[in-house]
Symmetry: C2
Subunit: 415 residues, 2 copies
């Protein structure tokens, strides 16, 4: 398995593009008047029809694009050709939401010469403001024209809202002696909490695989990657991951659980876990990446629940921001996790590039050097190691610290 460039264009036969069409406010930079506007409209197109899997937010308030995408994939029995996506406006809680989302599919389909139901549509941004459709109508021609096999970066920037960096990851691997590729792009910074733990993620691959097996792989891997991420405990209305596989790698189509399927899942985990890590590190206002690695658990689900509880603790997130080794808050968060275990066996260590310090053994505090702990916590990537010492299952969850900037960003998001 090799890490490669190319994001969503790493797999054969996938083009992408991104433009500024006018949904975001113009990026006015007086010092640099020729600076391009931030992209706000993106497109992905596969040369051939793709097996397609998707998972959606569990929020009862579902963005109109989610509803339309779901219907489209039902109509096509899990097939698609393209994705159209805008940022800045979530097209959610609007009376005309579905109409507008459907219109986006039709606009893309007409321009690309495909069927409207072969288009996945997504939107991200402010909830409850009418989506202006004119900028999309006016921009769709340029967007299609710009489609390119190297267009991944333009598309990856088009889905950014409060994100400070674009998020792409891709790998190369072999199935049946054929070179295969799998890559993805993600956006998300706030309103991030398990079930579906991110906003938008688009993944493409040239592996030949049936829609059923694709969905199975996605469901399995989402559980241990995106759904183990929390920035702020708010589950978005527009969360979606889509996974398109066009088969151009030429392997024998995967239609059952076999070695090829395991290889595919490993690649999918690699890409999704790394995108998840990027999302956590770029959490709104975050200054530190927080990873909780929970081991020695009776079941996988216990490990996930406990790891998520730790990285979700507002108080521990503040302590990490303050570089304060307040491990009592880790124990507290383990204690209110919805899992059954013996708290008196739990060990906790804090770790970073600067070392490891044991802070708790058998559920009780142990003496440690505050100086050493402060040094470890001065890193911008902190690991909390929780060992339950009561089984062999483990899981990782990703989050970030809670900072002044998170409050600032979200105190006035709409303007």
């Amino acid at each position: 398995m090799k890490v490669i460039n190319g994001g969503i264009c790493a797999a054969k036969g996938f083009k992408a593009s991104g433009i500024y069409c006018g949904i975001k406010k113009p990026a006015i930079d007086n010092k640099n008047p020729d600076k391009p506007h931030k992209n706000d409209l993106g497109l992905i197109l596969s040369d051939t029809l793709c097996s397609t899997a998707a998972v959606y937010t569990t929020n009862k308030v579902k963005g109109a694009p989610i509803l339309v995408t779901k219907k489209n994939l039902e109509k096509t029995n899990g097939k698609s050709r393209a994705v159209i996506v805008n940022s800045k406006n979530a097209n959610t809680c609007n009376a005309d939401g579905e109409e507008k989302a459907t219109r986006m599919c039709v606009l893309a389909a007409n321009e690309l010469g495909i069927k409207a139901e072969e288009v996945i549509v997504a939107s991200t941004g402010v909830i409850g403001q009418i989506l202006p459709i004119e900028p999309i109508e006016n921009g769709i021609g340029e967007l299609a024209e710009k489609l390119s096999y190297e267009g991944n970066e333009e598309a990856a920037t088009a889905i950014m809202t409060t994100d400070t960096i674009k998020k792409e990851y891709a790998v190369e691997f072999e199935i049946d002696d054929k070179i295969c590729h799998l890559g993805g792009m993600a956006k998300g910074s706030g309103m991030i909490h398990p079930n579906m733990a991110t906003t938008l993620n688009f993944i493409t691959t040239d592996v030949a695989i049936s829609s059923e097996m694709l969905q199975k792989a996605l469901d399995e891997i989402v559980k241990v990657t995106y759904n183990c991420l929390s920035i702020d405990g708010d589950t978005s209305t527009n969360d979606m991951v889509s996974l398109m596989a066009n088969g151009l790698a030429g392997n024998n189509e995967i239609t059952e659980t076999n070695e090829a399927f395991e290889t595919f899942k490993t690649a999918l985990y690699e890409v999704m876990a790394n995108l998840t890590r990027m999302l956590a590190k770029d959490g709104e206002g975050a200054s530190k990446l927080l990873e909780c690695i929970c081991t020695g658990c009776p079941t996988k689900d216990d490990a996930i629940i406990i790891a998520k509880s730790v990285i979700g603790s507002t108080l521990f997130k503040c302590a990490i921001f303050g570089e304060d080794a307040n491990w009592g808050r880790v124990l507290c968060a383990i204690g209110y996790a919805d899992a059954e275990f013996d708290i008196t066996k739990v060990d906790v260590d804090l770790k970073s590039e600067f070392g490891t310090v044991a802070v708790c053994r058998n559920g009780a505090g142990v003496e440690f050097s505050e100086e050493e702990a402060a040094k470890i916590l001065s890193s911008d990537e902190i690991q909390v190691l929780v060992n339950l010492n009561q089984g062999n299952e483990n899981a990782t969850a990703w989050g970030c610290d809670l900072t002044y900037d998170y409050v600032k960003i979200n105190g006035d998001y709409r303007t």
Copy 2:
């Protein structure tokens, strides 16, 4: 029902006291060297044995004082005479925790001439640091000596940690033509989240009532008051409410559900709801009280769950801090609440002393004046009115905004 002064000393036969014994760091004030230290040790004593009810944290990590209090109340079949409580150190996750908590009961009992198992013990503060027992041993004599029927304020300040104001509330009412009193004190500012939604609450009454009926009343009222409070989503390890009834009002002992029991519950709700409101308003770093009043629900539980989901939303809390009418975040939080309902019927209004503005009808946004909304949100007490329009049940939940100061306070709590 009349609001009166006196807190935990409002009911007949309850004395209280509070001192600085040396668990908190000395409050050094160079400008004012004679300024008294902050209290860190408190005591309550009833003239006679009390029927006693209590509820405890649901966190698996339970503070040692919780375990000892629980055992004591089991031994006495729900009877008690006194409460001893310290702040600054939670006596939790320490190998010698139960031993120290038991020692606190013995110290108080010996000084007061009562049995150790008649003492309720509580601690609040940092988790995982050994509790120094010497200051308590040295201070217990003075603490007992200072006991007074007007000692409520000294006790109420002794339980404060990051609280900025002491929290007391009391009412007077009649049962069987007898004048009755019920009062309480509470502490809590951070690590506050439903199940048991606060840290320490002590309530006293002179009503004659059996321990069974007392527990029944407490369970019912906790559900709609303290458990409807969230500051930061972290359920503390030391949460406890105790309710002591000494019967000195002289009413016929309440032993079944009757009119007197209903009156008692009304008084209990009045005190606990007001203490809850005070806790929310004094949430760590809070600049605004946030109340969500959820009406028109199919069931009471739905109303509670939805109201709690709204006041628990980190993003909405930030928006309120920024005085930004970002109602989409309210809809989002309603949407991920774990309740069954039709989102397309939901109405939302924002309200304060400065007026009311409708922001959402039938699950979709309506036009409103941003200027008017900003005016309403400039108040320091904000109400979010959610009407599901699908039933007759309702509930209120209390919280606060999320501010820079919350992050600051919790970035370096231990020092």
